[in-house]
């Protein structure tokens, strides 16, 4: 569906936003695109959409060079959730919806633009209203909606024309956890649909882990990691942490090969690599030598692993399908 080889985009200001990226996305795949602000995620997306011509390299989307395509895509849906500055103040720019129209008329607008037959439209809309819980919002103007409501409506308006490629650019910015959950739910459903390819960008890793099967990690315009979450976790197991609370004074650790530890009056926090020393050995030792009240072992989160990769930079260039 998307084939990219050695793609580079340099703007006239001399900024190379995308630097020699190779990437293959198959139909039905769900890709998470992670990177810090300014890493080149949005530029990559705009290259895929054919907004920018590439400076060099090869790109094919739906078998065509997107910039020189003959017709506009009716099959790419894009949702942008970025907070943007308009020069005076920060506002939520709705790329898909028209602020002054009611939600209902916005949906009609999508029907007209994508020439959806009326019966198909009414069937789809009733499904979406239910799934995203927006039927109560139909008669409000978009400008009257909260961020979370607006994002739900925006996603509905894009799913309405059933794009084959759905691009979500930072859809979770500024959205509270309840709305987040309902968006995540529908995205998981969409991700399960094998006809829709999803590209989701974010700098919040948690969101991606629940929706995407593969993660592409971009830093300074280059891919630093490309693979599954599981492999990411396996290959970059960070330090486990074990927090132990004692009734009384913590025992001496002797010479366990742990990385570091911190001691409070009656609690002990250990950081160790489970490949070198097992959690079992440490806890057995502590059970034998101290009066334990409570034990908490934490695995490193993907977030922590990503932080590690951020720090280590381009060291982990892995497979490019």
């Amino acid at each position: 569906m998307v084939v990219i080889k050695e793609l580079t985009k340099t703007f006239s200001r001399g900024i190379t936003a995308v630097n020699n990226i190779s990437l293959h996305i198959a139909r039905g795949e769900n890709i998470g695109l992670i990177g810090a602000n300014g890493a080149g995620k949005t530029t990559l997306i705009k290259l895929i959409c054919g907004v920018y011509p590439p400076t060099s390299g090869f790109i094919r989307v739906f078998g065509e060079n997107p910039f020189y395509r003959k017709k506009k895509y009716p099959h790419i849906g894009m949702v942008t959730g970025q907070l943007v500055t308009d020069g005076y103040n920060i506002s939520q720019g709705s790329a898909v919806l028209q602020d002054d129209l009611t939600v209902e008329l916005n949906m009609e607008l999508v029907r007209i633009i994508y020439r959806i037959p009326k019966d198909v439209y009414s069937k789809r809309i009733s499904n979406l209203l239910c799934a995203l819980d927006i039927s109560k919002l139909m008669h409000y103007r978009v400008s009257q909606l909260s961020l979370g409501q607006r994002m739900r409506v925006e996603i509905a308006s894009v799913l309405l024309f059933e794009p084959q490629l759905l691009i979500l650019d930072e859809p979770f910015i500024g959205i509270d956890s309840v709305a987040r959950e309902s968006i995540r739910k529908i995205l998981r459903e969409v991700a399960g649909n094998k006809n829709i390819t999803v590209i989701l960008t974010t700098h919040n890793v948690e969101e991606i882990e629940k929706i995407c099967s593969r993660v592409v990690f971009i830093q300074e315009g280059s891919i630093v990691y490309n693979g599954s979450f599981d492999r990411l976790k396996r290959s970059h197991i960070g330090l486990n942490s074990m927090r132990v609370v004692f009734n009384g004074v913590p025992p001496d650790l002797q010479d366990f090969p742990i990385e570091r530890y911190t001691v409070d009056t009656n609690s002990l926090t250990l950081f160790y690599d489970s490949g070198i020393v097992s959690s079992k050995d440490i806890s057995n030792y502590l059970l034998a030598n101290g009066d334990i009240k409570d034990i908490l072992i934490t695995k490193p989160s993907v977030e922590d692993i990503i932080k590690e990769i951020y720090k280590e930079g381009n060291k982990y260039v892995t497979d490019n399908n």
Binding site: S12, P74, T102, I113, R115, R141
Partner: protein
């Protein structure tokens, strides 16, 4: 084409849902009409005709040009917002012509305001001001066509100014200047008849008098058949020129966006 008419219909329906807001619009149009009407009433004093122009012609000129001016007002920061927010890229993905869609949506809104703002204003004004009746059914219809052409001229001028957002930080200032030009040179503030001859000659070489003054003249029956054809030709000429310019700016702007990033 049907698709684009539906865009106009959508905007029309959207305004229907909020038509109460237009009561205030009627009031504001009426207020500005009363201001100009009173000024010219005072200027005319006891005279009924000045320079061959009757007072009722002046009043009719104001109700048409001020009324249309208010009805055709639109959000002129639209393009700037789209460009500065970067959402213009999303618009380009949609399988419709962005400019044409923008025109028809604005047209739908303008049409709504003509019906729910302009017409009520005219009806209210008829009770106190000496408005002139249209000079015939045919002229009335020609006037409507000419007003639509005038709207397209106005819209294209606005689009060209708005498309400067590709290069400028803010086009607000330019839009303000443009509005002053349009209001004065199109005869919305001073009727074209009272302008000095040199200014009228100058305006003849600009698109401004084809916005409101051509429909006004047709309505009043000031133009004979041949002159009407000439004036329609001028309106169409300006539409073509302005369209070409707007297309030039639009394409250059998109190109700049693509090369420099936006």
């Amino acid at each position: 084409m049907n698709t684009y008419l539906q865009f106009a219909a959508i905007k029309f329906r959207n305004n229907m849902a909020y038509r109460f807001e237009y009561v205030m619009g009627i009031l504001s149009t009426l207020l500005s009409f009363v201001v100009y009407w009173s000024i010219y009433r005072a200027l005319y004093g006891t005279e009924e005709v000045v320079d061959g122009v009757t007072f009722s012609m002046v009043a009719t000129n104001f109700i048409i040009s001020l009324g249309l001016n208010n009805a055709f007002a639109k959000n002129e920061m639209f393009l700037q917002d789209k460009i500065k927010q970067g959402t213009i890229a999303n618009e380009l993905l949609k399988p419709v012509n962005f400019k044409l869609r923008m025109l028809f949506e604005d047209f739908g809104e303008g049409l709504f305001r003509v019906i729910f703002n302009f017409l009520p204003t005219v009806i209210i004004a008829m009770f106190f001001a000496e408005l002139q009746a249209p000079s015939g059914t045919l002229n009335m219809m020609l006037c409507i066509i000419s007003a639509i052409l005038g709207y397209i001229v106005l819209w294209l001028i606005s689009f060209i100014v708005q498309s400067w957002s590709f290069w400028l930080f803010s086009v607000w200032g330019l839009i303000t200047i443009k509005n002053v030009f349009v209001n004065i040179l199109a005869g919305a503030f001073i009727p074209m008849w009272f302008m000095p001859a040199w200014l009228r000659d100058f305006i003849k070489f600009t698109p401004f008098d084809s916005i409101y003054f051509t429909p006004v003249q047709i309505y009043l029956g000031e133009l004979n058949g041949y002159e009407i054809v000439i004036n329609f030709a001028r309106q169409i000429f300006w539409i073509l020129i302005l369209y070409a310019l707007s297309e030039l700016f639009w394409r250059r702007g998109i190109k700049k966006l693509v090369v420099q990033g936006g």
